[in-house]
């Protein structure tokens, strides 16, 4: 219960923060965002988190706006998260899955997008297995496009919720040592996190078997190692990527067991890490592959908080792109 303003006590003058205008109609990736834009999303997400604690978990902000989930890749998690985010903002949401007929009939991505535009959809949330799919759609359409994961390229809302979680735990991102461990070469979560963390001043290390480290990655300002012990040693936080054995790539590891043995995060390995190291994972977890069940459920794991933050971040993103400024009329 508040009875006194914390601000009155401070001797410094607190001026109302200058409003920073979000002007992007799309969110295609973290690479295109400035530090200020990233922080704006995170700050807004904080406010949306509060909405999720109310007895009535809904605000009328996007009432009358329609959002379409266009998911060419299966994903219950991200899709549900976006659906809930949309509904909490009172927007209408429709979901189109790859299994649904028109996509199967070979309709191109751009055609599908144009159809949705003709249906007067306001925002398309797209997940696709081709890198650049969100950019391709955005170029062809006038309506907003939010990238929910395109091939190996970016998964901006995942990185944003990862960074929000880190910020909540540690106060600020600058100076934090964060290691991203797993199949970096094929990971959009890795790329988005690298952009976001480096823009906010974190020290990022990527760790993977040699074949899964993409060419030139160090040019993005990250340290590279093939040793998981090295990656964990000085880390304040580790982000464990999902190891996908169902991909058709030639894997660097013949078996799950071998991966677990060389790169799996176990309590044993964490003993050599900082005591309060934060363990993150975008989910779903392959227990016994990327990490042991004990670590997944352990005290260092923030995996469930990531999920809650995911809805708040997606609410913030939908709110910003759907109300992005275009005109310059004064407020009454």
């Amino acid at each position: 219960m508040l009875t006194k303003s914390p601000y009155v006590r401070s001797r410094n003058r607190m001026t109302i923060k200058k409003t920073f205008t979000w002007t992007k109609k799309d969110l295609l990736g973290i690479e295109d965002l400035t530090k200020e834009e990233i922080e704006l999303i995170l700050d807004n997400a904080g406010s949306f988190k509060e909405v999720l604690t109310r007895p009535l978990r809904k605000v009328p902000t996007l009432r009358g706006k329609t959002i379409a989930n266009l998911f060419y890749e299966p994903s219950t998690r991200t899709r549900t998260s976006f659906e809930l985010a949309a509904k909490r903002l009172s927007a209408d949401i429709v979901t189109m899955l790859k299994e649904s007929s028109s996509i199967q009939k070979g309709e191109t991505l751009i055609d599908t997008g144009k159809n949705l535009e003709a249906l007067k959809i306001d925002v398309i949330v797209v997940r696709h297995n081709s890198s650049g799919a969100a950019a391709t759609l955005s170029r062809a359409l006038n309506i907003s496009v939010v990238n929910a994961g395109d091939g190996w390229h970016e998964h901006p809302t995942q990185a944003l919720l990862d960074i929000l979680t880190l910020r909540e735990k540690r106060g600020k991102i600058a100076g934090l040592n964060v290691s991203i461990i797993g199949d970096i070469a094929h990971s959009r979560v890795a790329r988005s996190n690298i952009w976001g963390l480096t823009k906010l001043g974190a020290n990022v290390t990527v760790c993977a078997p040699k074949k899964l480290i993409p060419a030139g990655i160090e040019k993005l300002g990250v340290d590279v190692t093939t040793s998981v012990e090295e990656a964990i040693k000085k880390a304040d936080a580790i982000n464990i990527l999902r190891m996908q054995f169902e991909r058709d790539e030639k894997k660097a590891f013949p078996s799950r067991m071998e991966y677990f043995r060389t790169y799996g995060i176990t309590e044993e390995r964490l003993k050599k890490a900082k005591k309060n190291i934060i363990v993150m994972h975008p989910g779903p977890i392959n227990r016994g592959v990327e990490m042991s069940a004990e670590v997944a459920d352990g005290a260092n794991s923030v995996i469930l908080e990531q999920v809650t933050n995911g809805i708040a971040v997606r609410m913030a993103v939908l709110y910003l792109v759907a109300t992005a400024k275009k005109t310059n009329e004064p407020i009454n």
């Binding site: 690479e31 191109t108 081709s130 890198s131 650049g132 190996w152 390229h153 070469a185 990655i217 993005l220």
Partner: protein
């Protein structure tokens, strides 16, 4: 039809000519080149302040006919060539059906005779279906008039089959144009391997995929004592290998496409599929190496690799889009603004690269020069004229060019084929 071209600045490297002179054309051949020709003719072109060049020759073009007339035909492709100042093209055999036997060659010859607006020379396939397994009947195809052999679009993956093909080519004294790509290395890459591929999350094509086969093919050609021409060189390593081979006296020639000296891999950053081609756009070091190679003679000619594609093949996600861009209409323009204007090569060198040398490589003795008796294939250029390459002006059936709305300097005013004014700019 007689034609007199007056007051033009003639650049004819084959005859060591570089100065203002008149040209008289009679019955489709060069009749006289001298100052102040006063002969009466049906038509006179006043080419004051224009450059007169032997007709430009593009030896790597995809005309898509037969099979894909929806995206280009012999008719539309040759019309496009003319507006780019190109009076002769060599067309690649990756059509449907492919030009891998005499029957198809003959049929294409008929189409060319009927529809071509400029000279078209046919490149036949090295292997049946270009699948790299069974070698085609080279002797028969040569007798049918094939000017060279290539599986372009694909490389003959198996070294011993390539060697056998080169030996057969040597026996029949016919040039082999090698598309150098080790498929086991390039796999299904779509951009140059490196930081751009990593940032964009796209599969990279390692440079080794190209230069390994450049080295292999030059070695095999040496062993077979065959003439070999390396298509679309794109990496600095390839340039170096070719430079060394030439120094060692091996009869290898090479070409570079304009996009490989005009654009870098970071053009792909927006996922615009008009930056997707094979070989892919490379790094700044490679671009510099190509320019150096064009300058010092390592690379003999500029060839567009004109690759028309339909909207449905390009306006999709990057990984699925077809490789290639059109290039006939911008080849000269890009060479002028990136090489001549930047003082990397002279106009004379440019004409060597785009006319004299390809004529020599293809064995076209009466082209690439303005000697008396040679074919009256002439390109007239206004070197100062600035123009914008608009989508509406594109003569090709396909519009997949990343240079749309780009400013150019140096425009073709006339393209004369066999003494006929086949193209005149409005």
């Amino acid at each position: 039809m007689n034609l007199l071209i007056k007051n033009g600045h003639i650049i004819d490297p084959a005859n060591g000519r570089d100065g203002v002179s008149d040209i008289l054309i009679k019955h489709g051949k060069i009749s006289n080149v001298a100052k102040n020709i006063s002969k009466k003719t049906n038509k006179v072109i006043d080419a004051k302040n224009r450059i007169i060049s032997p007709g430009l020759i593009d030896m790597h073009v995809h005309l898509r006919e037969p099979g894909r007339e929806d995206i280009e035909t012999v008719a539309s492709g040759t019309r496009a060539a003319l507006s780019g100042g190109i009076t002769s093209v060599a067309c690649m055999p990756n059509t449907y059906p492919p030009i891998d036997n005499c029957g198809e060659a003959r049929r294409l010859k008929d189409i060319i005779k009927r529809d071509a607006a400029c000279s078209v020379f046919i490149v036949g396939a090295i292997t049946k279906e270009r699948s790299g397994v069974e070698i085609t009947d080279i002797k028969a195809m040569k007798e049918e008039g094939i000017i060279a052999l290539s599986d372009d679009g694909a490389a003959v993956q198996n070294g011993s089959i390539m060697l056998r093909a080169l030996k057969k080519a040597a026996e029949n004294d016919i040039l082999v144009i090698a598309h150098c790509e080790n498929k086991n290395i390039s796999k299904n890459g779509v951009v140059n391997e490196g930081i751009i591929a990593t940032k964009l999350g796209l599969r990279g094509i390692p440079r080794k995929a190209e230069y390994e086969f450049v080295e292999r093919d030059i070695g095999l050609a040496g062993e077979a004592k065959a003439r070999i021409h390396i298509a679309h060189v794109s990496t600095r390593e390839s340039v170096e290998i070719i430079r060394k081979a030439k120094k060692d006296g091996i009869p290898v020639t090479a070409e570079a496409a304009p996009h490989h000296f005009s654009m870098k891999e970071n053009a792909c950053e927006t996922y615009d599929t008009r930056t997707k081609m094979n070989p892919p756009l490379r790094s700044i070091e490679d671009v510099e190496a190509i320019k150096e190679g064009l300058k010092d003679g390592t690379i003999d000619t500029i060839a567009s690799d004109h690759a028309p594609h339909g909207k449905h093949e390009k306006e999709i996600t990057f990984d699925l889009a077809a490789f290639g861009i059109i290039g006939l209409e911008t080849s000269l323009g890009l060479a002028i603004i990136n090489l001549v204007d930047k003082k990397i090569i002279s106009w004379q060198k440019l004409i060597e690269l785009m006319s004299v040398n390809p004529a020599g490589i293809l064995g076209l003795k009466r082209k690439g020069n303005l000697s008396v008796g040679s074919d009256a294939d002439i390109t007239i250029i206004d070197p100062e004229k600035e123009w914008i390459y608009t989508r509406d002006s594109i003569r090709s059936e396909s519009k997949n060019s990343p240079f749309i709305n780009q400013r150019f300097k140096g425009k073709v005013t006339h393209a004369i084929v066999g003494g006929e004014i086949s193209y005149a700019a409005i």
